[in-house]
């Protein structure tokens, strides 16, 4: 099967309290080898995964928030973040780290990977996928 499918990874958990967030990121990195149309969704506590200024030195866990910035190298360039989930947690887009990718089709112009969307838009994104993987 060479047909490209739309894959959505849904992230709803905060980063360090459980293993879900790291597992999701590892599956995304491994799955990128299959060259599908990949998007990531961050909603509910999942939005905490993308906050800037994380420093895990005190808890002895790898700070994998840095790894999100490598996703562009893996051609994963669509990170949808739900606005209502940010609002409910007292966050704005400015609290999230900058994640960019270089657009091969636009002379390697640097473009933002994070797209803040409404809850209704998130529902539409979910409903337009072939495969939804939840973490």
């Amino acid at each position: 099967m060479s047909e490209t499918k739309k894959f959505l990874y849904v992230n709803r958990k905060a980063p360090y309290g459980t293993i879900y967030a790291l597992e999701s990121l590892e599956v995304v990195l491994i799955g990128a080898a299959f060259e599908q149309d990949v998007s990531l969704a961050f909603l509910d506590d999942g939005v905490f995964q993308l906050t800037r200024g994380q420093d895990t030195a005190g808890i002895g866990i790898k700070n994998f928030s840095n790894t999100f910035r490598a996703l562009g190298d893996y051609d994963v360039t669509k990170l949808f973040v739900e606005r209502e989930s940010l609002d409910e947690r007292g966050l704005t887009e400015a609290d999230l780290q900058a994640i960019t990718y270089e657009d091969e089709n636009d002379d390697w112009a640097e473009k933002p990977s994070i797209r803040v969307v409404s809850r209704a838009e998130m529902a539409d994104i979910m409903a337009s996928q072939d495969v939804v993987l939840s973490f």
Binding site: E26, L29, I30, A32, A33, K62, N63, N66, T67, D73
Partner: protein, 110 residues
Amino acid sequence: MAYQVNGQTVEHDEEGYITTLSDWSRDLAEEIAKTENVNMTDEHWAVVDFLREYYDEYQIAPAVRVLIKAIAKQMGPEIGNNKYMYELFPYGPAKQACKIAGLPKPTGCV
């Protein structure tokens, strides 16, 4: 299981990856390369340095296709291509170069 370098003992796992990333030194890299039958040239070092910088920034060792694409962009397509990279590191540029660079096995490598 351990490497011996400059009178120091550096632990590694059953595949030769060092267990404590901060144990790494350039002398150790030469020692690991010897056990891999790799003779370190400037080109080898460029790849190893690139991997270490990538890990420092993103906390992962890049997948091989990501590595080759990035090397091509940074150092030109005559170095950043599959064939040349496998000539440098015959057992796989990701696996072997990561080992010499003192990094964990790349994510997705079995």
